[in-house]
Each structure stands twice: as structure tokens, then as C-alpha cells.
Symmetry: C2
Subunit: 151 residues, 2 copies
């Protein structure tokens, strides 16, 4: 993700169509430094300084999604996770069903697969988005002999 310096941050947010409030800058900055998809709770806690309300977090994430700045991801944890959308690399995740480990992977070939899918369907003119995640037990969970969760 292109690191927007704290100075440009406001500009980035305005370009997305929003007022560059402290709260939004804080949330955006937090998302920028997050290594993996974060939950609402992590955002609220992680923003630290500026105390932001959980409801506000939901609203900001919602707005960012609509502005195509953020992606909502289902890690099968029972609640949503979010990350900044990166136009260039369409990456996806490998998620451990035993612990919280998440790793990225790129090269999902979504265009090709989407076309393949469109050829098989009757009612869709085009695909606009997709989800793809892989699940498995990570090495340390395998060592600890954790059983595979249904997630």
C-alpha cells in the first residue's frame, strides 16, 4: 500500500469524497500500518489517542467501502475484518483455523476465473467483485495437534 504521509492523508480522504476529520485520519492511518485485516474492535482499540466510538468506526468503514478505499473480508471469525484496498495487487489470504494467523497470497487469476464463471451463468453480464480465502492449520497449530475447526 502506498504510504500516504500524515500530510497527504487528508488529501487522500478528501479525494475519496469525505471530510478529513481527525477520526477518519486516525482510522485511515491505522489501516495503513495494519499488516493484516483488522476487526472493528482492533480499530477502536488501536486508534488509541483519539477515543473513537465503535459506531463511528462502523460508519467510517462503511463509507470507506462505498468509496472503494476499503475491503471487507470474511475470515470466518464471526465478525468482519477490513483492510485498505490496493488497486494493484489483488491479494487474498490463507487463514489458520486454529489460531489467528493470516498470510497473504497473490495471483488469484480472478479475471480468468470470472470469465469462466460468466460463460456458465445465464443471468449475469459481468462480475464486479469476488471473495477468495484459503483455510488450513498453520504449522504451529499442527504441532500443537489442534483439530481442524469447521470455522
Amino acid at each position: 500500500m502506498p504510504k500516504a504521509s500524515d500530510d497527504d492523508l487528508a488529501a487522500v480522504i478528501r479525494k475519496a469524497g469525505f471530510r478529513a476529520t481527525e477520526t477518519r485520519k486516525a482510522v485511515y492511518a491505522f489501516l495503513e500500518k495494519a499488516k493484516y485485516p483488522v476487526s472493528i474492535k482492533e480499530i477502536v482499540d488501536g486508534v488509541g489517542e483519539k477515543n473513537i466510538d465503535q459506531v463511528t468506526a462502523y460508519r467510517i468503514l462503511d463509507a470507506f467501502q462505498k468509496a472503494d478505499v476499503v475491503t471487507k473480508i470474511d475470515l470466518r471469525h464471526g465478525h468482519a475484518h477490513f483492510e485498505l484496498k490496493d488497486e494493484k495487487d489483488d491479494h487474498h489470504h490463507v487463514i489458520c483455523t486454529g489460531c489467528d494467523r493470516v498470510e497473504d497470497f497473490i495471483g488469484c487469476e480472478s479475471e480468468r476465473l470470472a470469465n469462466k464463471a460468466l460463460k456458465q451463468t445465464k443471468g449475469f453480464p459481468r462480475i464486479t467483485s469476488h471473495s477468495l480465502e484459503f483455510f488450513g492449520l498453520c504449522n504451529s497449530c499442527v504441532r500443537e495437534n489442534k483439530t481442524l475447526q469447521v470455522a
Copy 2:
């Protein structure tokens, strides 16, 4: 899905490791005739005759999942959808973000992609499951000029 005649139903359920109760047979039969992934509410309503409790539905679906009989799917509708797992064709879905339309598609090449993913990760020995869904507006929603939902 191999249609289990109402007679074999009990056997199928027992083989999965459960007691073949009326409730389970009803749920299984309903899943068998469902054309697309169904929600808990649809199951409870659809089973008709035998009034089953929502909680029981959750528990049965949970058990079926653990027995690898059922798959839980995220259509981005805010609640889970379920369908019978079909060993042979690993199919996925194209979901309209304007209405409830869902179509199937097969050939996700998950093995190849999963291997590709494993090569890029450091902490995972193998992939045990995956999710993949495509989203877009269906023809009639496009005609009605519905805006793309973030879902």
C-alpha cells in the same frame, strides 16, 4: 447431489455419525431439494410439517458441517447460508448484489491455486478448505438500474 430416497435418508444420516431423527431427516431432505444455499430461516420455514426450532436448526447444521455433509457459505447477506456438500463437483456461486439471485459455477481450480498460495506462505503445511464467490449485478437488476451494493 445423489438423491437419497426417503428410505435411504436415515442411512445417510447414520453414516455421517448421527441418530436419524425426524428433525434431521426433514432438514436433510429440505437441503437436498434446495436449488441454492439456504438460510436458517428458510430451513425452519421450509421444513414445514414438523415444526422445528431455530436453535435446533443451528445445531443440526453445525453437526452436519462437522461431519462434512454441509458447507456454510457467505453470500454477504448478513447471515449464513448452507448447502449439502458435494464431493465431486466443487462448485461456487455468482451472487447478485441487487437481488437474491444466485447461480452456480464449477471449475475453480482450487488445487492449483491452493498450491500456488502455499508456495508463497511460510507457515502453512496445507490448505484444507477455501471460499470463493463472485459478485455482480444480474441482468434484471442492471435493467432496473440498481446501483451496485457494497454488500
